[in-house]
């Protein structure tokens, strides 16, 4: 960081100013002229927090997607179905047992196992044929969506997380000062903050796993050169199965988290598939860091779009994707 400051004085100064202005926007009480031009501060801070927490959710979904792609060059378009199936399974288990955490764990394990099955039964048969693998995942997602609709119908489901995860917390951020002089603090749902914490924890966990363990080292080696890794005696098929289990499991995990933060309904599979697609296209396929950056960009863009230009929120995320593709086709963190 010191090197960066020494090398790029001007840029460092601009970044410093931007960060300072940003922090001021969050913590200061807004003067009238700012309220006139941007609207109430509460809207801004809530949108910002919504954006960041949504980014956390997107990261959970997209990290599995990008992990699988990075190693196996397999674009798993059934990833959205895995998200939704995980949410449903988690819901069933959580309602039956009354334990939300059990639902979360079972969703992770069950979807992870389904990922292993897919890898062993189907993808191994057509290794190296990217297009066919992708077409197969499309077929699977069609069937899965239809069967899930048959089993769980078109109803919307809502999780009941433990009491202490529910409710609102008061943040140390003042939104306005009343005429009486009392400050009004901003409140925010506890669970959404939990989503963010979980996403950050999963992100750090993945980073440690990939960079500090032997298995992670093998995976990184496989991303760079699969054949060489196989030649040096590593059981690549086992590695593939493990990575697919983690990637798919993360989708199921995200299903329960996302289903609790928002709700579960048919059609969510396509929504999260689209989100993962755009996140990894923007962030760069195969890079977990890229997924984090992409998720942050897309989550913020979507929420700010919804709050400030309600009609065209979706188009804003799309424009970001087009812009990134035009400037840097391999994505922000993608290498060729």
């Amino acid at each position: 960081m010191r090197q960066f400051v020494e090398r790029h004085r001007v840029w460092a100064f601009i970044i410093f100013l931007a960060v300072a202005a940003f922090l001021w926007l969050i913590f200061a009480v807004w003067p009238d002229w700012l309220v006139d031009s941007l609207g109430r501060k509460k809207t801004f801070v809530n949108t910002l927090l919504n954006g960041i927490t949504l980014a956390g959710l997107y990261f959970l979904v997209a990290s599995g997607f990008t992990l699988v792609f990075g190693l196996m060059r397999n674009v798993n378009l059934a990833h959205g179905s895995m998200y939704l199936l995980g949410a449903y399974i988690g819901y069933e288990v959580a309602t039956a047992s009354g334990n939300w955490f059990l639902g979360l764990a079972v969703a992770f394990l069950a979807i992870g196992a389904s990922g292993v099955l897919l890898q062993v039964l189907i993808f191994r048969r057509m290794e190296g044929d990217d297009l066919r693998q992708t077409l197969v995942t499309i077929g699977i997602s069609i069937i899965a969506a239809d069967l899930m609709l048959a089993v769980w119908t078109g109803n919307t489901y809502q999780f009941e997380p433990p009491e202490w995860l529910f409710g609102a917390v008061t943040l140390p951020i003042i939104s306005v000062i009343k005429a009486s002089g009392d400050p009004v603090y901003i409140k925010y749902p506890m669970f959404r903050l939990t989503v963010l914490v979980v996403a950050v924890a999963v992100g750090i966990g993945l980073w440690l796993f990939l960079n500090r363990t032997k298995l992670g080292m093998m995976i990184r080696a496989g991303v760079n050169d699969r054949q060489m890794l196989a030649a040096s005696g590593v059981n690549v098929q086992l590695l593939f199965a493990i990575v697919f289990a983690i990637g798919a499991g993360l989708a199921g995990f995200a299903g329960v988290i996302g289903g609790t933060a928002l709700s579960i309904a048919p059609g969510e599979d396509v929504r999260y598939l689209l989100a993962s697609l755009i996140v990894v296209i923007v962030g760069g396929l195969g890079s977990v860091t890229g997924a984090a950056i992409g998720a942050l960009l897309i989550g913020l863009a979507e929420q700010f779009g919804l709050a400030y230009f309600p009609t065209y929120g979706v188009v804003l995320t799309f424009l970001i994707m087009v812009f990134v593709l035009a400037v840097r086709p391999q994505g922000v963190m993608g290498g060729r």
Binding site: L274, Y312, V314, F318
Partner: protein, 356 residues
Amino acid sequence: MDARRLLSGNFSFADLHPGVLLVIVFLLAYPGFASDFFVFQIGAYTLILGTIALSLMMLGGYGGMVSLAQLTVAGLAGYLVAIVGTNSVGVMGLGWPWWITVPFAILAAAVFSALIGAISVRTEGIYTIMITLAIAVAFFYFVRQNYVVFNGFTGFAGIEPPTLFGVYWRDPVPFYYLSLTVAGGFYAAVLYASRSTFGLSLQAIRDNPRRMRALGYDVTLHRVFAYFLAGLIAGTAGVLMVWFNGRISPGSVGVDIVIDILVIAVVGGMRHPIGPFLGALVFVLLQNFAIDLIDRERFNTVIGLAFLLVVLFSPDGLLGLWQRVRPKLRFARTARYEAGRAEERDRQGAGPLEQT
């Protein structure tokens, strides 16, 4: 059938395979013995879906670019017909005459397709699927949210083809012949284009873009132009589609239908332009008659399973299956034919050699 001979003039009806002749006669005579339901709901609908899938086949089969946004392109053309033409909803409907509306819609769709191409050709292979899928979904959300131009969730209704030469073109038989003309025309055009210089360079680019670039071909331009041509096909089919349905809404450009088009093209086979029509026929028949076999609600499972089986066991679709079975059925005859051709080639080859 050899398209080169067909179009270069050295062609006589004797060269036509009797099967091809039979199909042509059947297609032309079809409304004569089929009921209105079969002519309109099955016949015309198959031809329209087949034409949209044909545009995907052309991009995917000859260009190696599997674009999922072809239905979106068709949908845009359909929307434009409703927007600049007339509709009964009371939103937009500029009331332009049909001879401006239709070319405008088709051209705009083709330009849109070329734009999609320009965005997605920067990346290759799998990325194309992802980007075009993202574009298709974004378009779906956009028309659903936009009430000013696209009338949001409700979409448009009451879109009628013009009444020309005293014929109401939405009647089953005229509409069938209209679709047949369009489908047949594009089928022949794609077949012809695949043998043209452009088509051959496109296929060469599919096989080895780096070599073609090194040879001095503008790879990007070829690809974007292929998208433009595919957009013309999809756009025309989109206009027919909106006339067929009489209305268009976000549901008409939804993800499930986008995937349906891919299913049709893949199930039929992407190696030859007849594939998409074959796939469309199977699809439409399943759609209409699968109710008799299973619950109507579970149609997607049936079509998904069919798709999965084809992808798993016959990557070239039904066409590939046919090509694998055919040699076994007619081995002797094919062998005789090949031997005859080889002999003829030898004779022709020997001529000039003796002269030199």
